[in-house]
Each structure stands twice: as C-alpha cells, then as structure tokens.
C-alpha cells in the first residue's frame, strides 16, 4: 500500500489565536481591536507580517516555513471553527477528537476509527503513537497505539540490560494470561519496533536540525519511526501554551516563541534528507481561536474561528483557503469572536477522504453532512 501516507496531527492546546497567525493585514478593524498585540503590516519596517496574498500575511515567526509554503506544500484554512457554542477547552477538545459535537459522542477517537477501517495484510505492532502523558481521545480505541510523552530508550528500567531482562520476564509472566496476554504481547512488540527505530536514529545525521525542545524531540522521533519503516500510520503531537489570556505578545513574546518552535520543528521535518515529508500528511489545528479585541491584560480571551495549517505532498498548497467573514462588528460571532465560516470537519473530512477513502468520512464524523468543499487536497 504505497499510496498510504502517515498522518500527523499536531494539536495546539489552549486555543491558538488564528488572527495573529494569519493576519488580515488590510483590515483596519484588526489594528483597531488590537492596539498592543497586532502584527505590523508587511513591509512596515522591523519585524512584520510576511505577505501571503492580498488578504493575509503570516506571523514573522513562521518565516522558516515560507519556502515550503511557496513550494506549494503548505496550505492554510482561515475562519474555521467547531460547531459548538461552548468556549470550554476540554469540552471542545473532547468533541473534536471524538469527531462529534454534543454530549452523546462516541468514546473512541475519529482517528482511531479511521485506522480501524484499514485492511492490512499484516497488522504492524505499532500503528500509531500519541505523544502525551495519557492517551488522547483522538486515538482512544486503537489497539496498536503507544502513548508516551517521549520515546525513552527503555520501557521499564533505564539500564538497557536490565530493561531487556525485565521485558523478557514480563513477556513470560503475561504469555498465559487470557485477559491481558495479548495486550501485553502487542505492547512489548511495539516497543521493540520503537527501540529499533531509535537505534537507527542515533546514527542518522538528521538529529541536529530539530529544536531542542520537547516538541522538537517528539517530531524528531516521528521522523525516526518513519525512517525505520515499521509501518507507522498515525502520530498525535501536542504543543501547549496557546491559552494567551494575558501578555500574549505580538511579533515577540510568548506566542511568537511558540510559533517559532513550531515552525523550526516543521521545517526540520520538511527538510529531512530521507524524503520523510513525501510520505506524510500533517495537520496543525487547535480547539478554537481567540476574541478579536485584545483584553485589559494585553491578551485575548477564548474565541471561535481560527486558522488551520496543512502540510504534505497531497496538499494543494501555497494558498489560504476559507471564506473570509471580515472583522466588522456585524460579522463577529458570539461575544466578539471571528466567525467560523468553515467547519473543522469540512477540512478534516477532505483529509480523511484522501488518506482513508470516502467511506471513512461518515465513520470518522458520524453526524457530519458535507456542506462545503474546501478543495485543499489534490
């Protein structure tokens, strides 16, 4: 199945401010609403937004990705949001990852359900990894998933020989257990695959490109797993720190640093000499955007519409998609939020159709009736 790309979902936890990621630089309402945190217009001198088209310019921290964008491997979708009135992080996050709004949502994640639709001649021991302390809803229900904040070189004990010896013993202890035996065996096999990937990574020259942060290490681990060709089908990563209620900053500051970390890691991934990006589709998303007007604390409160980023060879990139509602007072949603003219599922449905087939769309998003063709995938 060489038409199968690995899907990487990067979740910006906390509600990332799409308006400072993709700046509507010709809209005076934007500058009026954000006296201290707006990103200056392209060419304004000093650090300023990088022009993408007649309407949007991107945050200068995303500069490392500009050439990838111009190559046509990155697309943005703006004014996209989840169809729910809630402004609660955990509720929206949970709904998005379950693939369904409302309280009667499935237990398992949309990505897990997609992976379950695949027919494979031999199931790899490790279909997916989730870089998180606990398994995110997104991959809940998937049996071949490994959840960990990092891929440490050991499963049980830091000393390699002891770790190997303990794993052997654990395999023996679980072999005969009817209930937990298969789970334990699968987990041990998966870690074996991880170990092999990590061993090959230490000899690779690619390691130095990534930022030396937790997120950088995680994306580097994804590259290692892909290089090892162990059959990895999906990865989930999280970047925290987007809940910018106070002192959000503009071209500099907390959010700019997060974007810089994101951009440098993605650039390292895209620059891999092993052609890793050619076998990958990446989606960068967040639970909601932020209020248009900055608040009294030089930050922004929870909002609605925001931006998504897509990377990979299947993306029809070099463009910003989505219907722009504008920032006039009459166009705002709820308490003063950027309106969501596209449903998060409009984008994800196209992604799922490309990677898993049309049939998988209704499995991933049971309540969703396709409304809007974005056209962001080839």
């Amino acid at each position: 199945m060489n038409n199968q790309n690995t899907l990487v979902v990067i979740s910006l936890r906390g509600g990332a401010d799409g308006l400072n990621i993709l700046v509507p630089y010709k809209d005076d309402n934007y500058y009026a609403a954000r006296p201290t945190i707006a990103i200056p217009r392209p060419g304004a001198g000093g650090a300023s937004a990088i022009e993408l088209d007649d309407t949007f310019a991107m945050h200068p921290s995303l500069a490392p990705l500009h050439t990838v964008y111009e190559r046509g491997e990155i697309a943005f979708v703006h004014a996209v949001g989840w169809p729910s009135e809630s402004h609660s992080h955990f509720e929206i996050t949970d709904e998005i990852e379950a693939g369904q709004p409302g309280s009667e949502r499935p237990r398992d994640g949309w990505l897990a359900r997609c992976l379950a639709t695949r027919r494979r001649s031999a199931r790899p021991p490790l279909t997916s990894v989730a870089f998180a302390a606990t398994l995110p809803r997104l991959l809940e229900g998937e049996t071949g998933v490994l959840a960990a904040e990092a891929l440490p070189p050991h499963l049980v004990a830091p000393d390699r020989a002891e770790d190997d010896s303990l794993k052997r013993a654990i395999r023996g202890l679980y072999e005969k257990d009817r209930m937990l035996g298969p789970v334990a065996t699968r987990a041990l096999d998966a870690w074996e695959a991880v170990r092999n990937a990590l061993d090959s990574m230490t000899t690779s020259s690619a390691v130095s490109r990534y930022p030396k942060t937790r997120f950088g290490e995680q994306l580097r681990s994804v590259e290692a797993l892909l290089r090892a060709e162990i059959g990895l089908e999906a990865a989930s990563l999280e970047l925290h720190g987007w809940d910018t209620h106070i002192v959000q900053g503009g071209v500099e500051g907390g959010m700019a640093e997060r974007l810089d970390e994101l951009a440098r890691a993605l650039d390292a991934f895209a620059a891999s000499d092993a052609g890793i990006l050619e076998r990958t589709t990446i989606v960068v998303m967040t639970e909601f955007g932020r209020r248009v007007a900055e608040n009294g604390g030089a930050g922004t409160d929870h909002g609605r519409g925001t931006a998504m980023m897509l990377l990979g060879p299947r993306v029809r990139g070099g463009r910003v998609y989505g219907e722009w509602p504008g920032l006039a007072a009459s166009a705002l949603s709820g308490p003063g939020d950027l309106a969501a003219t596209s449903d998060v599922r409009d984008v994800l449905a196209e992604l799922v159709a490309v990677e898993f087939g049309d049939r998988a769309v209704s499995i991933a998003f049971p309540d969703y009736e396709a409304r809007k063709g974005i056209g962001c995938f080839a």
Binding site: S86, S88, F90, E91, T93, D94, S103, E104, R107, A133, T134, L135, E140, E142, T143, V145, L146, A147, L155, V156, A157, E162, S165, L166, R168, A169, I170, G172, L173, Y174, E175, K176, D177, M179, L180, V183, A184, A187, L188, W191
Partner: protein, 472 residues
C-alpha cells in the same frame, strides 16, 4: 543478590509457612506493625473472600490484614467499615492534618491558588487511600468522585473542589443518595464545572441539566427528551456561587431564576416555586425507578463484575428503594451476596493498582508531587478526568496503559518516586514481597521469570508487574 536457586527455595518456604504462623500475624497486625507474615498467604475459600473484600471494598491489604480480617470474619469487618465514624483513624488523620489547605474554611482558601488547592486535595486523597483505616469510606469517596466527576484543572474549580470534597462528597459518601444528589446540585464546584453558575432565566444553560439526567440520575437510555433537559435547566436557574468573601457556598438569587410553570419528566411544576424547584427535581429523580436501578447497576459493576446479573442488580435496587436510598444498605447487600463471593477476577484500575502496591509493601509516602506525577502517568490521577462522565470503569479502556504499570512498578521498587518508598524488607526479600503481593505460592513459570532477576529491585518490580497483582 537473589539467585534463582535461592528464590525457588524461598518459594517452598511459602508453602510451609502457609500451614502455620497465622496466629503470630494476627498478633502483630493488631498492634499496627506491618510485617508480611506467612499468615498473609491464602489457603481457604474464606481467606480468598477476605482478600477480595480488602481489594474491592478497600485499596488492598496491608501486611497482616488478611489474617486480621479472617479472624474477625468478613461480615463483622464490613459492619465495622460501614460504621466508619466509629473507627479510630489516627494514622491517616495526623498525616492529612499537615495538609493545611484541606481544613481551611471556604473564605480562607483564597490564600492558595487553584492549582495549589487541587494539588493539596490530591495529596490528601492519596494519603487517605494509602493510610486510612476507613477503607470502604475512601472507596466510596472515589466512587462518588467518579459519578459526580469534576475536573480539577478547569478554570475556577480548584479551590471550590476542596470544599466540595469535604462538605459534599465526604459528608454524604455513606449516607443517603438523595441528600448527596441535592448537595451536588448546588455545590459551587459543580455549578462552575458545568456552567450552572452562569445560567439565567432568559438563557438557561443546559449543560448541567443534561448531565444531571444523563450521568447523575436516569441515564441516557431512560427516554427523556430534549424538552425535559430544557425544562430541568429552567428549574435549575438562579443558583450562584457566592462572591469571593464566601466562595465555598452557593446562594439562590431569585432574579436569575425562571419562576414560570414547567413540566419536567411529565411532572408539572407550578409557577412561583423559587428555590424549591430543585428540591422537587431531586425528589422526582430519586423516586424514579430508573435512577435507582442505574445506581444499583453502577455499584454492582464497580464492586462485583463488569456485567452483573439482573437478579443482583434488582436486589440491590430493591434494597435502595426500601431504605430511602441508603448507600450503606446497598453496599451491605452487595458484600453479602453470593454473586460477590463467586465473581470472576477483575482487572484493577490504575489508581487501585498504585495504591494497593503502596499498601501491600508498607510504603511510606507524602502523597506529594512525585507520587502524583507517577499516578498521572498511569492515567488516573484523581480529579484529572476532563469530561463529566468520570474515569471509565471498563478494563478495556485502560489496556493501552498497561506498560505504564510496569514502569511504575520499577520506579517504586527502585526508589525513583520522590517522597515514596516501599519498606526495604520487600526489596531485600522477594519471598516476603511475593507473599505480601500475591498471597500464594508462585507457579513454576512465575518463579522462572522472577528468579531471572539478579537484583531485589528487579524481582520486586516483576512481582508488582505480574498479572496476579493486577487483578482484584
């Protein structure tokens, strides 16, 4: 250093020890000194039942507990546990007392941040689970904290959760379900968590009402309608968290209350009932057989089996109904049922796995950051479940996390969990540890696996990791 031969030798010792020494263990157990004795091994069906009671109605035996409870008798032990307020719980009391936040009055809680409050509450919860002699009480606190789940990290919930845990959950954990439900309904922490605190007559927030019907009482399959949810939400409007000078309590503010006529679940509410709308709502939900049966089934699932028999659920529901929703009566019915005695082994949830390992190994813990991080990695740190449905009961949901238990086991055995340390004797003596953890002679294949380790740390981490200790 343990050689495999010596280990097998010790294994034979267990077999010998299991036929004698019971009296000594009882003697030592009575004085609260915890030494694993041969009496901790299980020989008879009665002792198996004792172990099950300790595992499921508590967080597993400490050294000496099996023999102590066997001597007392299971029924008498359950009665003792149900009468929790007459248990002398000094051992946990003086430890929890040092966590000052937990005894702060609501208005003084502003001295700490929400994050500190939740961390201290978790500390108190862990310390009590490990040390308290009111084990059944602590188990029920866990049960209700799941049933009425509140996410500790939700903005504004942290300090209120300390008050909620103390004055709502712990006050009613072994009391009457109707009183518990009533207290939860207007508890400030729940009002904030489910957005009831911003619900107004013109714009009633349905979130809290929906969870009240779906999770706290009737269940999603009960056949109520969206109209019922909306009408219940109207009845629940008007409850506000008091401002900062009295943040731990709620107040009924008539101007936010929708005082018009309503019909909830086919029951008419005349206009002008004011704050007694919620009294009526609680009374009608508690009188509904669907609520009672659902609660009975949930208790049976937690304590007996993932798919309890209809007859057992019916008996427990009848007991609840006959006692006016008395939680102790329901638990007594379950503990004495033949279904409980005959139930198949159940996989421990990660939290039970962690706490029972500390108890079995007579570990010292401060319940602090180290242990909290370790239990978070297992996936079940108290008050860390974001959605209102609470930590899942189903073992299936926890399977992907199995390897994290092996890592926890090794971290605990090798002293890598800051602030927490098992008693050295169990690291030095795998035989003693085997008796304390699995209470039986090891099978030859288990001896092979555990005997393969050259260090006490390795043996102990395998004993904790093995399937036998992961079931209850």
């Amino acid at each position: 250093v343990i050689t495999r031969r010596r280990f097998i030798g010790w294994s034979a010792l267990v077999a010998l020890g299991s036929t004698s020494g019971c009296g000594l263990a009882r003697f030592i157990g009575d004085f609260g000194s915890h030494v694993a004795m041969p009496g901790d091994s299980i020989r008879t069906p009665e002792e198996r039942l004792v172990l099950r009671v300790l595992d499921r109605f508590g967080y597993g035996p400490r050294p000496g507990d099996v023999a102590r409870v066997a001597a007392l008798g299971v029924d008498a032990y359950i009665e003792q546990q149900l009468a929790f307020d007459s248990i002398d719980d000094t051992s946990s009391w003086w430890r929890v007392r040092r966590v000052e936040t937990l005894s702060l009055a609501a208005e003084d809680l502003f001295a700490v941040t929400d994050a500190e409050a939740v961390s201290d509450l978790r500390c108190g919860t862990l310390v009590r689970a490990v040390y308290s002699d009111c084990q059944l009480f602590e188990r029920m606190v866990e049960f209700w904290s799941d049933h009425f789940n509140i996410y500790g990290e939700k903005e504004g919930c942290g300090r209120l959760l300390v008050v909620h845990d103390r004055e709502v959950i712990r006050r009613h954990a072994l009391g009457q379900f109707n009183e518990l439900l009533r207290a939860v309904l207007t508890s400030p922490a729940m009002l904030v968590y489910l957005d009831g605190a911003t619900s107004t007559s013109g714009n009633p927030n349905e979130n809290h009402a929906r969870e009240l019907l779906e999770l706290h009482t009737l269940g999603v399959e009960a056949g109520y309608s969206q109209t019922d949810v909306r009408e219940a939400a109207r009845a629940m409007t008007g409850w506000r968290v008091r401002p900062h000078w009295r943040p731990g309590s709620s107040v009924f503010e008539p101007r936010f209350h929708d005082d018009g006529e309503k019909t909830v679940l086919a029951t008419p509410y005349e206009k002008g009932l004011g704050s007694s709308d919620v009294e009526r709502l609680v009374a009608s939900l508690c009188a509904n057989p669907t609520t009672i049966e659902r609660l009975a089934a949930k208790l049976c699932r937690r304590f007996v089996a993932p798919d309890p028999s209809r007859e057992l659920v019916k008996r427990v529901a009848n007991r609840l109904a006959a006692s006016g929703l008395n939680i102790r009566d329901a638990l007594r019915e379950i503990a004495r049922s033949p279904e409980f005695a005959a139930a198949p082994p159940m996989i421990k949830r990660p939290y039970s796995f962690a706490i029972s390992s500390l108890r079995a190994l007579d570990a010292a813990t401060d319940g602090g950051r180290g242990l909290q991080d370790a239990i978070r990695k297992l996936g079940q740190l108290p008050f860390s479940w974001p959605t209102p449905d609470g930590f899942p009961d189903d073992a299936k949901d926890w399977e992907a996390m199995l390897p994290s238990r092996w890592a926890f086991a090794h971290d605990l055995a090798s002293g890598r969990i800051a602030g927490t340390r098992p008693d050295e004797r169990f690291v030095d003596d795998a035989q003693l540890a085997a008796t304390a953890l699995v209470h039986r002679i090891l099978e030859p294949f288990e001896v092979d696996a555990i005997g393969s380790q050259s260090s006490g740390t390795g043996s102990l981490s395998l004993l904790l990791s093995m399937p036998a200790f992961n079931f209850q």
